[in-house]
């Protein structure tokens, strides 16, 4: 529907509710046609940022450029951004067809064109046969598609999705996120997707911004953020992370407890991130560089993996191993030796600053 997709640029955006700062110094650029996720825990400001782009909530300070035009001073009805609400916000007194027609009527689209456009939008989400139902007669998943059809019917410049999957049950969620992505690719619409679920963000988005406490922590592709987090928050929020405090020395990275990893780190106290699957667990071997002695404290069987909680390096490390039916599992109390691949270790910067994109 949209031949010309546009980019979004946010410059030095600040926003407060009364005296409470909710967003601080937001700077980002979302490319035309990109599927972009805002990821963060509740209260991180991700929904507030999305709503600010749509023009809802208190007026922010800073600039919001959509396709080069600053929309920060415009009322919501003049911004040309389509938003799908978390609650879907289908009007219960209007049929599906009239819900979808609403935006076109408000835009004074000639009456002759409204019918075909409504049907095209409903067809796109596969709900044309239900056009004359009332919203209360639809399932949650169907309501969500109507909300989507209602929004894309007006051919907005950008599409904003506020936790669109959170009101669906688990099975439907996976299917719907694939459909959402397929639809976005088909329309080529620049899309922002707000979620607190890292799996949703990972599986759908081209790039994402991780927010915490109203500040962007890091922006990048899902893989880049997982593999190269810049701070503890990003490392923890995207998957399980062992974070160890140690010290960079001339010989390598010295861990508490004495072992030293062969990796180059700037001198001084540092944090490093070890993903659970980057640690190999094995029988006791003579301690050497890159090997840590440890004792299994607890075991969780996760199906495809077995997760061990191992006391080592004066802390407890989480270690994942592939589960193979013929391989016996280690018992709690077993003395083990942990091997760390220096390549897989991420040395964090000292503060929670932003990484280059």
């Amino acid at each position: 529907m949209n031949e010309q997709s546009v980019g979004i640029r946010i410059e030095d955006l600040h926003l407060s509710f009364g005296d409470t700062k909710v967003l601080t110094g937001i700077d980002m650029e979302i490319r035309a046609g990109e599927f972009f996720a805002f990821l963060g825990p509740s209260g991180s400001g991700k929904s507030t940022l999305l709503r600010a782009i749509a023009g809802f909530g208190p007026a922010p300070r800073g600039r919001i450029l959509i396709g080069g035009r600053d929309v920060a001073g415009l009322p919501p009805w003049k911004r040309d951004v389509g938003m799908v609400f978390q609650s879907y916000a289908l009007w219960p007194h209007l049929s599906v067809r009239r819900n979808v027609a609403f935006g076109l009527e408000e835009r004074r689209v000639p009456r002759r064109q409204i019918g075909p456009k409504v049907e095209a939008a409903l067809d796109l989400v596969g709900l044309l046969p239900l056009a004359d139902r009332m919203p209360s007669q639809l399932s949650g998943g169907q309501q969500q598609r109507v909300a989507l059809a209602r929004t894309v019917a007006i051919e907005p410049k950008v599409l904003l999705l506020d936790e669109p999957l959170s009101n669906l049950d688990a099975g439907l969620r996976v299917q719907t996120r694939r459909e959402l992505l397929a639809l976005q690719r088909k329309l080529g619409l620049t899309t922002i997707f707000v979620t607190h679920d890292q799996e949703e963000a990972n599986t759908t988005s081209d790039r994402m911004a991780v927010l915490d406490a109203g500040v962007i922590q890091q922006i990048g592709t899902p893989q880049a953020l997982y593999d190269r987090p810049v701070n503890r928050f990003v490392a923890r929020f995207l998957g399980t992370a062992n974070i160890l405090q140690g010290e960079g020395t001339r010989e390598g990275f010295r861990l508490p407890g004495g072992a030293t990893l062969a990796l180059t780190a700037p001198p001084g106290p540092r944090d490093i991130v070890l993903r659970p699957q980057a640690i190999r667990i094995g029988p006791v071997e003579p301690a050497s560089r890159d090997r840590l002695p440890g004792v299994v404290r607890h075991r969780e069987f996760l199906g495809s993996q077995v997760r061990y909680f191992v006391d080592a390096a004066d802390t407890q490390l989480v270690v994942d191993t592939l589960h193979i039916a013929t391989r016996p599992m280690l018992e709690p109390g077993a003395a083990v030796s942990l091997a760390v691949d220096p390549e897989a270790v991420v040395v964090l910067e000292e503060s929670g600053g932003r990484a280059p994109i």
């Binding site: 009805w77 978390q86 916000a89 009007w91 007194h93 209360s136």
Partner: protein, 576 residues
């Protein structure tokens, strides 16, 4: 004040002794049959009965519509009820919109505006309104002096419409504000996102979503006005249905069929408007299915808009307080006639009241207190049986208790007169004129409200709290007594006080059943005093006393509800 049947479906507890609750349920059902259903059926039956031959007939209805006076009364009642809805809407709509849509300091004033008229029934202030707004009342005298014209506020039916609409608009205000407040904010935002704003947004999205609340309030106003007996009587408007029914039964006699025909019409219209509002609302209880952020987005008013808003509010506030101010002036005034204010002020009316009318006050406390007690006993039992047991027919107990909503007070009174006419109880005398009948009639009329209060209170008590008691060894009866009832206390108390306050000023059933001054309550006393110009001062003083009693009771129930919800808020186990 909509009648929602509660749809929580509890798993059926295995009652060790279902018999105790079942017996209570059957006793309540018998009581309701005796004092609500049978009298009403009796009234309807007599409406279709030939008074001479005793055969079923429609002749009474053709007689009714053949009479010009009855035809006029019928149309007058419809007209007055419909116009009262129109004027009540004109008052309530701007107030509801202001409080819910704008950040406005006057919202608190509007909230209290919603309660003030309800603490005084319209008939009490009707005479005072005549003195303020009548042809030679304060306002018209001043208008005539300054501008040389008068406005016929109180002429004939106008007076009834005027008095009723400023008393009953809160029903629309409360329901409409609740609907507006419950509209999910994203409903409005989604419309803005798709390009709607201003009046179009209001007309296409906001108002349709608030419609159910408006209809509920409007239907209530219609019924209340249509059934009201006191106000037209006070204003000396006889050509309306309720006054005609009263006059036929008390004047012509208990066997005159016209009173029953009118009763049938009153019931038919009550049922019809409740049913219509139910039809409109069915499947449209939008508020409860929406989730997400609550309430419309609030906007700041510009300085000019704020001035305009305050003017609107102050005008309405003046109207709402007019009956109270008028009543106050009347009760302290010496002579008030053809002058803007009474000639002088005196305390002698209050002296008259306390020396002559003490029995009115004690009777009221007795009747209203007894009625409220009956209400909460039945209300608590029915609430428990309906919500927490699997007794067969428990829904019917709910319907029976709620049915009184559709029965006008006049009709209930006529039903009692007819049914207990000629029944003599040893030691009591004629049953129909026994004061206990007044108390029972009041209890029946207020039961629907008390029952809702008890049900709401019970729903606040999680089933697991009761189960925990049973698990620790308490029997069903003991866990109800030690856990459920104490936790319901706040709600039950609020139900008691509300029933008491509204019963204390009821007139329509009371006026039918009062047999003599000795047994009369306040409302009837006010009516008697107000009949003669010389008694108005004392009548007004009695009215002021009634208002104080009701206001005090309302204040206490508010405090109880607040304190209760405060306590509840501190508990982590909120169950809804």
């Amino acid at each position: 004040m909509t009648v929602t049947t509660v749809s929580i479906r509890p798993r059926l507890p295995r009652l060790s002794r279902p018999s105790a609750l079942a017996v209570i349920g059957i006793l309540i059902a018998a009581f309701l049959m005796m004092f609500l259903i049978l009298p009403v059926i009796q009234v309807i039956y007599v409406a279709f009965l030939d008074p001479r031959s005793g055969a079923l007939t429609l002749d009474n209805f053709s007689d009714f519509f053949a009479s010009p006076l009855f035809r006029e009364s019928f149309w007058n009642s419809l007209y007055v009820a419909a116009m009262s809805v129109v004027f009540a809407t004109l008052i309530a709509l701007p107030l509801a919109y202001l409080t819910t849509r704008f950040d406005f300091a006057g919202s608190a004033v509007i909230q209290s505006l919603g309660i003030i008229p309800l603490i005084m029934p319209p008939f009490v202030g009707a005479v005072a309104m005549q003195l303020l707004f009548g042809r030679n009342g304060t306002v018209n005298l001043l208008l005539n002096d300054w501008f040389g014209f008068k406005i016929p506020f109180m002429e004939g039916l106008n007076g009834v419409i005027f008095v009723e609409s400023i008393h009953y608009f809160p029903f629309i205000l409360i329901n409409l504000s609740a609907s507006l407040r419950n509209i999910d904010r994203s409903m409005e935002e989604a419309a803005q996102n798709l390009g709607a704003s201003g009046m179009r947004l209001f007309r296409r999205i906001v108002f349709p979503l608030a419609m159910p609340g408006y209809i509920a309030g409007a239907a209530l106003v219609f019924i209340k006005v249509f059934d009201d007996l006191g106000t037209p009587l006070m204003l000396n408007v006889k050509a309306m249905l309720a006054p005609q029914a009263y006059m036929r039964i008390t004047g012509v006699g208990i066997n005159d069929p016209m009173g029953y025909v009118i009763s049938f019409i009153l019931i038919a219209f009550s049922v019809l408007s409740l049913w219509l509002s139910f039809l409109v609302m069915r499947g449209r209880d939008y508020a409860t299915v929406q989730k997400g952020g609550g309430g419309l987005a609030r906007r700041q008013l510009s300085p000019w808009e704020r001035v305009a808003a305050w003017v609107v509010i102050l005008v309405i506030l003046g109207l709402v307080l007019a009956p109270h101010i008028g009543l106050m002036l009347l009760s302290f005034g010496t002579i008030w006639s053809f002058s803007p204010l009474p000639d002088a002020f005196t305390l002698k009316h209050y002296g008259t009241v306390f020396s002559q009318a003490g029995q009115y006050i004690t009777n009221t406390l007795l009747y209203a207190g007894g009625a409220a007690l009956i209400d909460i006993l039945i209300g608590t039992a029915v609430a428990y049986i309906v919500l927490r047991t699997g007794l067969p027919g428990r829904r019917w107990l709910d319907y029976l208790s709620t049915a009184a909503l559709a029965v006008p007070g006049v009709v209930l009174g006529i039903g009692y007169l007819r049914m207990f006419h000629g029944v003599h109880l040893p030691g009591v005398g004629p049953l129909a004129s026994w004061w206990v009948m007044i108390m029972i009639a009041l209890a029946i009329r207020r039961l629907p409200y008390a029952l809702r209060a008890c049900m709401a209170a019970l729903q606040q008590v999680s089933l697991s709290l009761e189960e925990a008691a049973e698990n620790l060894g308490a029997s069903k009866a003991r866990s109800i007594r030690r856990i459920v009832v104490p936790l319901m206390t706040g709600g039950i108390l609020a139900g008691f006080v509300t029933s008491f306050a509204t019963a204390a000023v009821e007139l329509s059933a009371t006026i039918m059943l009062v047999s003599g001054e000795r047994d009369a309550p306040l409302s009837y006393g006010i009516y008697l005093f107000m009949q003669s110009p010389s008694g108005r001062g004392a009548g007004a003083a009695l009215g002021i006393i009634a208002v104080i009693i009701v206001a005090l009771a309302t204040y206490i129930s508010q405090r109880v509800i607040e304190r209760d919800s405060h306590l509840r808020g501190a508990r982590p186990t909120g169950s809804h």
